[in-house]
Symmetry: none
Subunit: 417 residues, 2 copies
């Protein structure tokens, strides 16, 4: 029998809409992958009565209660005191946490203040969960067959705590291996086009395997979720369905599960001992940022020229001023010259170039907002493609990056075929 | 007395983390601006029992209950039936909605199917709220002094419904304009250091003004929330407290409310008719991305050289190979040369340069992971600062960018003093 969970997010900032509750979504996703069903998410205020009430209510509803927020060292952070009330215990100094704090502050070269040391005062009845990225430890309680886990609300601290300690422990205790997910990642076509393409396959899916469409700009993820008593059986059933799907739309699929376009490109480049650089105008460094977010990307990524102004397109990338005058910065000729120029300047094997009108202003009747040119230059050839996206600047930047990285992926594959 | 609200978000997609609950944040923000205090947000599943239970619980807690989701025409959308149960009423055809549907489908040139017409079957006891952007109308109920409003979960339909019909009606009934927020944005020190600095001010805050610490990497936002019967009075009380705070920590504050460091720098540069470029190593284009996410940034941002490899630091930015060999890429000498070199190459007034070990690998005993050098080059001088952050690559990139942008802001202000 799979366990149920409730996420209690504490914080007035969530209730006035100042902060979006991305923590709860991330936690729900991770819990789900461990076969733990999230029954409810409750966002409550930084108030003693409200937190206590939500703990009592959750106790009636679910097996596991995950609490985030209210663990800072300042006065408005009251979660620890409320937990002491709820579990009828008191705060006492945790020697292990004192040592962890001393080590953390020494590593960072900061002075350890009394306020920081308060973080080592913890409810006597809890099991401490180490926080390697901040000062507030997590707390694990058990009461009347329920598990309660309190964590900081700072995502950079909560996520590693979940991934490194809490999810493995929950999986160990409750694994019934009965849920198997497989996500097939597609790029280049929209949800409705895709659903028509795969309609007959979708119809023949067995009852115990569900399909969900998860759209992102330029990307649709197709998630298969299978449920069964036997893990090995549902795994092979879901994988068999995925195989059928792959045969239906091989050209649209770029990866699986947590793959990212930038990491896939990086793996291909590493394998080929090749290097990459970007020449970005409308994407303004976003592609470079995605790439350099990958640990070890310095092994295959050499750098970029972000040519936001036309004279840097000329001086930095060698684009001809005549092409800029005659065709404009957002044109096939210019984007090809940007890619080829970057490749020469930075001496890379591959180059991505982007030039477009991200919006919301700057459009013309011939080149409306959302017009984007992308070029890929490689050892054998340079290709260019144009797109017409929408009016949202943020979305245009992301969708351009996804198209550009997938074009690069295809060109690398073609060149080594 | 200001009214309280609960938002009930219905949908399994929220509970498996597939969709982030941005609807609730937006609604909370809007309600808050109308002086309606959001007491709780509850995310519940597409299940009859669960929705009924959450309605009963919310009835105990608040005055106004806003419900989103589960109003589509397909089988898994059960909200309407559950509402009939809860309010002891039945579905009946609403002639006005039939006309609205006919008009909508004619406008879009679509055929009106029986499934679509189902949307005109509505609980007999509700007041219908028109949906001008989709097929599912909103429903307004009143019961035992509570107001219940059910809306579609699609943001493009829910938001105009809120803005055009629901918020004006709620404001008319309950306006007491009694909540005022002011957020003071600080950069450079942690939550605990800050709280010691402002302890005496925090202690003297009146009962009706609350302070919250909202930390982000390298940033702490201090939010003051004042409540009173009179809007003008609470506004001036909160502003007066903010003034005291500003005098206490003038050097730590960079802005207010929704200000961002990149937009503040942009405004200063525009005012001075100056330009900016970045030379990024460890931040890998993230600073350029933050800047180019601002519409119109092309008026003051010229571009970047992302010098991820050492030879681009030499060829692209003119860094001396001797400095790279002797001091290493992560050094004061190199980061100063990067900033000065970028300024010359791209002919900008200002340049930001970053070089560091973002991690998780690449650290040495002398330069552990998290060691970051930042330089700012301007018309009068070049400055450089070193930092030691933590082990998270993602966090190190963000915190470096925030420090770099704030250093730039301070240098611009100094140069024009």
């Amino acid at each position: 029998m799979s366990k149920t969970a409730e996420i209690i997010s504490i914080g007035d900032e969530l209730l006035i809409g100042q902060v979006i509750n991305t923590n709860a979504s991330w936690m729900a996703q991770e819990l789900n992958l461990c076969g733990i069903h999230v029954h409810q998410i409750s966002v409550v205020s930084d108030s003693r009565q409200h937190i206590l009430k939500s703990l009592h209510e959750a106790h009636q509803r679910v097996d596991i209660i995950l609490i985030t927020g209210g663990l800072g060292p300042t006065k408005d952070d009251i979660t620890k005191d409320v937990l002491c009330d709820y579990f009828e215990t008191t705060l006492s100094e945790d020697a292990h946490t004192v040592k962890q704090l001393e080590a953390l502050f020494e590593r960072r070269g900061w002075a350890l203040t009394n306020i920081n040391l308060r973080q080592s005062m913890l409810p006597a009845s809890c099991t401490v969960v180490d926080n390697h990225h901040g000062t507030a430890p997590g707390m694990w309680f058990e009461k009347e067959g329920r598990i309660y886990i309190s964590m900081p609300g700072v995502p950079f601290e909560m996520k590693p705590m979940m991934t490194d300690s809490i999810l493995p422990e929950l999986s160990k205790r409750f694994a019934d291996g009965a849920i198997y997910h497989k996500t097939i990642l597609t790029q280049g076509v929209g949800e409705s086009f895709l659903s028509e393409k795969i309609a007959s396959w979708e119809l023949q899916l067995p009852e115990n395997i569900k399909l969900a469409y998860l759209p992102q700009p330029g990307i649709v993820r197709l998630r298969l979720t299978g449920k069964s008593d036997d893990y090995n059986q549902i795994q092979s059933e879901v994988e068999a369905e995925a195989e059928k799907l792959i045969k239906l739309i091989p050209d649209l699929i770029y990866g699986f599960n947590h793959d990212t376009l930038e990491a896939i490109c990086g793996d291909l480049l590493l394998k080929n001992s090749q290097t990459l650089g970007t020449a970005e105008s409308c994407t303004g460094g976003y592609i470079a940022h995605r790439i350099t977010s990958i640990p070890g990307s310095s092994n295959w990524f050499r750098g970029s020229i972000i040519a936001y102004s036309n004279d840097i397109k000329i001086s930095g990338l060698g684009v001809s001023s005549i092409a800029l005058q005659q065709q404009g910065a957002v044109s096939e000729s210019v984007v090809r010259q940007m890619a080829a120029g970057l490749r020469t300047k930075l001496q890379t094997d591959w180059a991505i170039a982007t030039s477009g009108i991200a919006g919301p202003d700057g459009g013309t009747p011939e080149k409306p907002v959302g017009t984007i040119w992308i070029a890929i230059a490689g050892p054998d050839r340079t290709i260019a493609r144009s797109f017409l996206f929408g009016n949202s600047r943020e979305r245009n930047i992301v969708i351009s990056a996804n198209h550009a990285l997938n074009l690069l992926r295809k060109e690398i594959l073609l060149s080594t075929r």
